[in-house]
């Protein structure tokens, strides 16, 4: 265990945990958009920056990446921290003016107007890479990635085409903090709409009740991965018992 101070509170924390995790366990709020317990930390949204003091040196670090240390003094809302957070939210709002999650953060941080030119595209995707990390690390499909560099960065499948690797599981849509990816099941088809491409996948029909209940590719993927018999998913969960 290590002893650190967050916003004046002395806290005992488990070694190896990040400041963000420890703060969360102690009900200390730090905003974050690109962090999720299911995937490795990334440090890209910069909202979770906190100010740390070690000896005489003060600096800002991404609390989702920085692990706790003995004697560390953390301030989660110093002026320096707030200045960066406010600017980050203002930058993101210029990119995605209609996103509720950002408007809520802006209200929290006292950002009442955006001084920058609003982007015409009115993006929904903030490029937090939660979807791509979930697809790679959790699903292990690596069907989507971030393409292009810098201001042209986008989340997409290779060449914006129907991805062979995608199993249509929908983890990307589930983890997306801004609803930039949507899933809709219509009849025997699952439609996944991403910011720059749309893909359609066949759903499997339950041999008993006739309901289309899961993407065929996802079921094939699980059968292969878990070494199940080929007919393991012929029935939907309701008809299986």
């Amino acid at each position: 265990m290590v002893a650190l101070t967050i916003d004046g509170r002395e806290i005992q924390a488990e070694e190896g945990k990040t400041i963000l995790e420890v703060a969360g366990e102690n009900n200390i709020y730090i905003p974050a958009l690109c962090s999720h317990e299911a995937v490795t930390p990334y440090g890209a949204c910069r909202l979770c920056l906190v100010e740390i003091t070690r000896g005489k040196k003060k600096r800002l670090v991404a609390s989702c990446l920085y692990t706790v240390e003995d004697g560390l003094i953390v301030k989660t809302d110093s002026e320096r921290v707030t200045n960066v957070r406010r600017m980050v939210v203002e930058f993101l709002l210029a990119r995605c003016p209609d996103l509720e999650v950002l408007q809520k953060l802006a209200a929290e941080l006292g950002v009442d107007k955006v001084r920058f030119k609003l982007e015409e595209d009115n993006h929904k995707c903030i490029l937090c890479a939660l979807c791509t990390r979930a697809c790679e690390e959790v699903v292990e499909a690596s069907a989507i990635s971030l393409v292009n560099r810098g201001v042209d960065r986008q989340m997409a499948t290779p060449f914006y085409a129907l991805s062979e690797a995608c199993i249509a599981c929908g983890s990307c849509a589930y983890i997306c903090p801004t609803k930039a990816i949507s899933i809709e099941d219509i009849g025997d088809t699952r439609i996944i709409t991403m910011p720059h491409n749309t893909m359609e996948f066949k759903l499997k029909k339950c041999q008993n009740c006739g309901r289309y209940w899961a993407p065929q590719k996802q079921l094939d993927f699980i059968i292969k991965k878990a070494d199940l018999p080929a007919d393991a998913f012929d029935l939907c969960p309701d008809c299986r018992d």
Binding site: C45, V61, V84, F91, R149, G150, V151, R153
Partner: protein, 565 residues
């Protein structure tokens, strides 16, 4: 011509090395030689045909066995290219054309007489200058690293040996302990030359002490700053000095595998590095049981795909691993967990090239050169509106004025000096009032710029500082990897505001907004690209605020660059 890289047998001991060195010195180095610069600058000016002409002429005049023709790396004086050096008289001919080759061979090489037209004439006195070291461009320089570029064929390891090359490696392997080498580098005060200025010895020590059986050393030759060609020229002109530094570093740290990461846009550096590695392997300076010492070390080349951000150490390592070249936070240092999560010591080309000098001459000698906090020399690529553009190597502590005026010959076309941009695209613009600033890592940072890897762009009265800031921000915007929000979105917005200002749409409050954004981007970005990216804007606002105001309030560009209205 000297033999090209064919050791009859691998050098397996110190005695064998000394015998080889003696024979090389005896064989070639008292012969007259013609050295033609084959660096990119001179090649662009036609050095290729000059080289061909010399080859033909030497053969035609029956001198094949008596004269050595060397194609050398960049000696620095690019403005005077194509450059030709005649030894042993040390005659420098500049602006040489292919048709001059016949006369040079028949008159200068054979008879020792000078060709007036090809000599450099002092711009003030019009007095002709014969020797390389006497031209004003070189006089105030101290070319510890670059001087050898004039004296060796980078594709011939024996040239390097004749200049006492690999003697520092011998000293390190046979009479110093790894800890002793680290201590020597620490005491020398050498700081990283790629911009950060981190003490090299401390980095080595941390990597040496880091836990892990496999350790790596990397040479960063991903020099991406526009207008900068220091590292490329060292790699092209004297690759063995870099290899020697790397082998010594690897021995000190306990690494057996090294990588040179070179940007693919440097084909000559890639080629010369590859030849040097092959020759060093053939001769026994790389590979198993180096010089019979028992130490093993190999070096591989990895070519960069052209992303500026891959010069950042963590992005470089990601790229080397075959991943997308994006930086990660360095809360766990790369000396602990770097390439493939193993302890990794990355230094820049120029840093590595300093190592043999320090080992050979000692930390005490080295630390006498330079200022209190910045030791040794620094190479700058002096470009822009300056009379003598080229590569300049000066002791730390030399002032900007000395570099730009005494060495560079002042602003070109008699124009008025306005600023010098130092430290690459993410560096800053320094005004005339700071011309007496000494070259020093900390002094540059204090005034809002950076030493960076050594880019130095001279700007004159015809440059608009807002336009310059926009130029650099646009470069950085297109080179940002896009991972973190402040850098990706912030630079996009900065670029938009600067475009508006330069096109007459600037508004009251824009300057203050740029300052506020700059502070947040510096404080909030993930890697060194983002944390330094606002520098061109912040430094031009700091020193040339009136130019911004003229654009915004009066809708005028004082330099007449921006088309407003």
């Amino acid at each position: 011509m000297a033999k090209k890289g064919k050791a009859l047998t691998r050098v397996g001991s110190l005695d064998e090395l000394e015998r080889l060195r003696e024979s090389v010195v005896k064989r070639d180095h008292n012969k007259p030689s013609i050295a033609v610069c084959g660096g990119p600058g001179c090649l662009a000016l036609g050095a290729g045909s000059v080289i061909t002409a010399f080859k033909k002429e030497i053969e035609k005049q029956g001198l094949d066995t008596n004269v050595v023709l060397r194609i050398i790396g960049c000696p620095g004086f690019c403005e005077g290219g194509p450059l030709v050096l005649i030894e042993p008289q040390n005659i420098l001919y500049h602006r040489v054309k292919a048709e001059d080759a016949a006369r040079i061979v028949s008159q200068t090489v054979k008879q020792g007489s000078l060709i007036d037209r090809l000599l450099y004439h002092h711009p003030k006195t019009d007095r002709k200058v014969i020797h390389e070291g006497d031209i004003p461009f070189y006089k105030k320089q101290r070319r510890l690293l670059l001087a050898s570029n004039s004296r060796l064929d980078p594709n011939d390891i024996e040239d390097y040996l004749a200049l006492d090359g690999y003697s520092a490696l011998v000293k390190a392997l046979f009479s110093m302990s790894p800890e002793g080498i680290v201590e020597e580098i620490k005491r020398s005060g050498l700081r990283g030359r790629s911009g950060g200025g981190f003490p090299t010895g401390i980095k080595w020590q941390s990597c040496r002490r880091a836990h892990g059986d496999t350790k790596y050393v990397i040479c960063n030759c991903d020099e991406g700053d526009p207008g900068a060609f220091m590292d490329g020229s060292l790699m092209e002109g004297n690759p063995h000095s870099i290899l020697e530094g790397m082998i010594i570093g690897a021995y000190a740290i306990g690494s057996h595998q090294g990588y040179i990461y070179i940007r693919n846009e440097y084909p000559l550096a890639v080629k010369n590095a590859a030849i040097a590695i092959k020759q060093a392997e053939d001769y026994g300076f790389l590979g198993k049981n180096i010089l019979g010492s028992g130490f093993d070390f190999t070096v591989s080349i990895n070519r960069g795909g052209g992303a500026f951000v891959c010069g950042e150490s963590t992005a470089l390592m990601a790229s080397l691993e075959g991943k997308v070249g994006e930086p990660r936070a360095k809360y766990v240092h790369t000396v602990e967990k770097g390439l493939w999560n193993q302890p990794t010591n990355l230094n820049n080309v120029e840093t590595w090239a300093n190592v043999p000098l320090i080992v050979n001459n000692g930390a005490d000698w080295y630390s006498k050169i330079g200022t209190e906090s910045s030791k040794g020399t620094k190479i700058f690529s002096l470009v822009g509106k300056v009379v003598n553009a080229g590569l300049v190597e000066v002791p730390m502590g030399t002032t900007l004025r000395e570099i730009i005026y005494d060495i560079g010959g002042g602003v070109s076309d008699g124009k008025k000096f306005k600023a010098v941009h130092t430290g690459g695209p993410a560096g800053g613009c320094l005004p005339p009032s700071l011309l007496d600033l000494p070259v020093d890592f900390d002094e540059f940072t204090k005034v809002g710029s950076a030493m960076g890897s050594g880019g130095m762009i001279v700007l004159d009265e015809e440059n608009c500082m807002v336009d310059i800031a926009k130029h650099f921000i646009n470069f950085l915007k297109s080179e940002s990897c896009g991972k973190c929000v402040p850098c990706r979105e912030g630079l996009k917005q900065m670029s938009q505001i600067l475009t508006d200002i330069t096109e007459g749409r600037g508004e009251d409050g824009d300057i203050e907004l740029l300052e506020e954004m700059g502070a947040a981007i510096k404080d909030g970005s993930l890697c060194g690209l983002g944390t330094t990216a606002p520098n061109p804007v912040l430094s031009t606002i700091r020193y040339f605020r009136d130019e911004y105001q003229a654009h915004i309030k009066d809708k005028k560009c004082p330099a007449g660059v921006c088309r407003i209205g």
